[in-house]
Symmetry: C2
Subunit: 400 residues, 2 copies
Amino acid sequence: MLRDKNKTLIPEGFLFSVGEAAIKKPGRKDIALIYSMTEANTAGVFTTNRVKAAPVKLDIEKIKSGKGQAIIVNSGNANACTGRKGMQDAAETALLTAKNLKIKPSLIYVCSTGVIGTPLPMEKIKAAIPLLTTNLGRHTLRNIASAIMTTDTFPKVISKKVKIKNRTGILAGICKGAGMIAPNMATMLCFILTDIAVEKRTLSRAVRDSVRKSFNRITIDGDMSTNDTTLIMANGMLGNAEIKENSASYKIFKEALDEITYGFARLIVKDGEGATKLIAIEVEGAADEKEAEKAAFAVANSNLVKTAAYGNDANWGRIMAALGYSGIKFNEEKVSIHIGNIKVVNNGIGTGKDAEANDYLKKNIEVSILIDLNKGAASAKVLTCDLTEEYIRVNAEYRT
Amino acid sequence: MLRDKNKTLIPEGFLFSVGEAAIKKPGRKDIALIYSMTEANTAGVFTTNRVKAAPVKLDIEKIKSGKGQAIIVNSGNANACTGRKGMQDAAETALLTAKNLKIKPSLIYVCSTGVIGTPLPMEKIKAAIPLLTTNLGRHTLRNIASAIMTTDTFPKVISKKVKIKNRTGILAGICKGAGMIAPNMATMLCFILTDIAVEKRTLSRAVRDSVRKSFNRITIDGDMSTNDTTLIMANGMLGNAEIKENSASYKIFKEALDEITYGFARLIVKDGEGATKLIAIEVEGAADEKEAEKAAFAVANSNLVKTAAYGNDANWGRIMAALGYSGIKFNEEKVSIHIGNIKVVNNGIGTGKDAEANDYLKKNIEVSILIDLNKGAASAKVLTCDLTEEYIRVNAEYRT
């Protein structure tokens, strides 16, 4: 089993390198390259924000081929709202990387994260690319996870073995998140690599579904970024028969992928800017999943609910108020709410157990709020974090 | 011209009193009575939150008559999510007040603000009502504005003269706001009193339209309360011919009403929990007013935009991102953004004047952001405030 210096399980045929381009400031790794030794089936999911960063626009075109071989990514600058120059810069980054790697530019995906509205310092990026190519294989996946951090406080790496018939493949991924995470995976980059052979349309459907149930069900501040990208590359070097949706192995592969994306979603929320608590908000008894999701997001995005959680205050009135303006229809007198295992609301009225629930909030850093609308059978779970003074500090000072 | 001890202009025939009911804690005025010596045409606008407090449900029924003579209001307890008991308590409050005032219960409006989910301490309220009646005339409108404050830092009173033909009428109002203010006037109470005679349907239409352009265009944290109420009473004691929509005087009356509601909307945002800056966000060049409003609210509700304003950071990328997820359609390359008089974005690209705009933010406590979509002729302006550590502190500790 291939493991790198960080003991991360690594799929066959992928090489990594990181470099210093001094994009925002010198002295930190801020550019990275992921390379597959063979062309890989590649799929992706991108931000639904109408304002899309230049590299996102570029990648959306490239992903149509379902093929890829390398990802070049920088932090410190989002290359968003940079007009025609931004598009040229993203294309040039791909072109130069392709030239150095001696592969087709159409196989290179470009990702950027950081400040919006400032043109990429192309001279610095151009200078960094040759060394990235030379250094391929000298760095680890965890090094890349560190290089793409912005306000993240720790690098996010998950890898796992997947048994495909008599062979053992690997799914390994890295992710960055922190602030500006909202439904539809804002300011989030996630790259998942595997040596398992997966047919390209199957790969695309699988990653879309996994993202829907993970990254699209988390929120930190309700904002949504211009750069969100999830890419998956399957280079097939395991040598298994290509997995299709009707393959026996599909379910095993999909479960592993789900675990990775859900694992990252959880890590992103845990690392939400200034967060001290992970809050799981589950709405059940809804008419359909969409309604459950809408209600859960209204509660999860409420600054009042999030500050109450921070203050260890089981203020369920704020939960009721958020449900009330969520836009869904429900009967107030049928609602029940649990905070942890403590039922604080029954038939829309307080049960008088607030002190107990305050105590539960005080004692736990991962807390759950369960809301039962008692009208149907559908449910949805959304992950969020509390809102703290530290969030304000981080975001008021981000550019300064 | 009638002025009370606080020099507030007071319309003819209205009397006020405040009392101590120790609803949340003893030692502060927390209950108040507004009384008109004659029956008044009365109109109101209420929260659109699906979860409505008991007094709101009661008042929505009463307002159908278009008549009223008194308002009894308490702070410290919202009487929301209190089930059947809450409805009984609100009705009993009206009944007791009516008995003491010797008028019909249907003419009494009940309002509550404060914590959600705790039953009203009815014994304390019952004990306070007789004294409120006895003391009518001994207190000022400003005393009432103080008694209904929750997290407000100052009482909000506005009054003005209105010339109706050869007579001079008065419009006087009080208001409370602070946190949880969102589109549709959340946790907001506003009472406007006038001696000008206004026909009841005209009064109703006028107040609805004024609220739409004032309280419904402000946001502090995007949350929306269960108790919001605006009531207007016109007792006609000025003796003018009743104003109807086609009256010559209608425009004059309506302008005065607009000035009062917009004035209060501004005061509420200035007094937003923890706010240090008032931010006016205007979107112009939209296809229609609704689209302009939607875009302006997305920007106004963005925690990232609000924290950037707090940090004096002209981070227009966050404004672009918020426009991008607002749900409206626009061409990124046509957008221009002004922060104050400084054009920071032209055709979707930064103009390089961020330092100048930072300086403008640093030097002003009332700032403006103007976004031009350059697609149509419609516009809308939304008022909001910045998001600060103090907001977190106030809301994390609200019940403790």
